[in-house]
Symmetry: C2
Subunit: 280 residues, 2 copies
């Protein structure tokens, strides 16, 4: 496929030349194994930008030592076909040693927004995310960059970095795309066996339950969270956390007042899944 | 002066427009109180770039709590006059709250090169330097950026950050500019009283002594360092450190073989000064 590029300097040169020629650039950073969620980001970029660049890089610095870096799905040929069909202009798919030279030592830390929830479970995760996204923003100086809402806390980390470091890019956050039974699309869903896949749909059911309880007037977070945990337990699922957060923050609320993001993480078999839903 | 700009977004817009019009941009980041050292950087940029941007910002995040942030010289009118005379295109001189919004939490850490020497004396210094320079590189996406060799370790920190984070800027490091008696130019020299100013010239004399001893065949670092300390002691100066470093690194050497940077720091009265000189 002629739009595949593995070199950071050649990618920068191509993007830069297009910009000097007056073209706007959209970037969709991914780890590959593309699903409809990713493709919805690509569609958003195609609609808003002259050229759409997709990066495909399974970033080692955002995986903890006991996590799934080695088993993370790699299906580059299939990804390239999907992107070509949609009219993607350039795919940047570097090798690990192109992104991290020997002796790499520089990291970006965004502070408090990266500390709880996913940051607590995965202590170096957001440092790795922020660092690689900053690098991608330098290699591909896009006008707009597209992220999925499923990784809610990640979107806050990226927005915080962009704001604090004056990065000249507009961050667009696009809605979660779900399977027919509500399971949020994720490359990690491929790890689930048939039985786990079925149980995983309870995550979305528990988020819908929160929405329904709130719609019927329940505003006590503790009550809603207890019901969610009870629902998850019906199929032996236990949430690592269920957090009710004032929208666009990681500030917990105890009473539902304004828009609130209900975010959760749970282990389904050996696969750790996250999801979230805004209510109120 | 019409080239003064205090707004980050307006500065970015001006630089970006110039680049889209095909102009190359040079950036000279400073903390103001400009001396001939700074102006040599401006001259280097003027010679190589279509437009020269100078930033003037006394960056609070690179000062420790007991350091001289409050007393650091501010002479903006004088600085602007000097820059206008030389044909500087734009001066970005933001207020602190333009650079650091309330709740700022993102920092860049470059790792091991920032740890010893200046990093040991000033634990958060290089984190603050790297962060503000990265921010300036985003606000002023220059083709080239100019730094003085006096801050030797700082130049390594900047180069490491630029390399590790794929920043699309060429880093230029320019020679130290010295007073007639050899004292390296520094805005902090203004703190020295007449007696301290005289004693301060011993720093350069000790660096010259190292060069002379090496020229006469001495290769033992311990011997040279002892002689340097003896010379400094003749006027009651004591180096905080004297380091012999393989050029472009913070790796100490014990025998002089290839090009070696002799770097030192010393307190002269209440003023902490640094200097360095390459020998071998």
């Amino acid at each position: 496929m002629n739009c595949l590029q593995k070199s950071a300097t050649k990618t920068y040169a191509a993007v830069r030349a297009a910009q000097l020629a007056g073209k706007s650039i959209g970037l969709v950073p991914t780890m590959g194994a593309l699903h409809e969620g990713h493709l919805s980001l690509v569609e958003a970029s195609l609609a808003e930008c002259d050229h759409t660049v997709v990066s495909i890089f399974v970033n080692p610095t955002q995986f903890g030592p006991s996590e799934d870096l080695a088993s993370y799905p790699h299906v580059l040929e299939q990804d390239l076909r999907l992107l070509e069909e949609r009219g993607c202009w350039l795919v940047f798919a570097p090798q690990a040693d192109e992104m991290y030279q020997p002796g790499h030592g520089t990291y970006v830390d965004v502070g408090s927004v990266a500390v709880p929830y996913e940051g607590a479970s995965r202590p170096t995760h957001f440092r790795g995310v922020a660092t690689v996204v900053l690098k991608l923003f330098q290699i591909i100086p896009a006008d707009r960059a597209y992220f999925g809402r499923k990784d809610y806390q990640q979107t806050l980390v990226i927005r915080k970095m962009v704001s604090d470091l004056n990065l000249p890019v507009e961050v667009r956050v696009c809605p979660i795309i779900r399977e027919a039974d509500g399971l949020a699309m994720s490359s990690r869903n491929a790890y689930l066996n048939a039985e786990e896949r079925q149980r995983a749909s309870l995550l979305w059911q528990s988020l819908k339950l929160a929405e329904q309880m709130h719609a019927k007037g329940q505003t006590e977070v503790a009550v809603i969270a207890r019901s969610m945990r009870e629902l998850l337990a019906t199929d032996e699922l236990e949430a690592e956390y269920i957090a009710f957060l004032a929208e666009d923050t990681v500030q917990e609320v105890t009473h539902l007042e304004g828009p609130t993001v209900v975010a959760l993480a749970a282990q389904v078999g050996k696969t750790r899944l996250i999801d979230n839903h805004t209510i109120g």
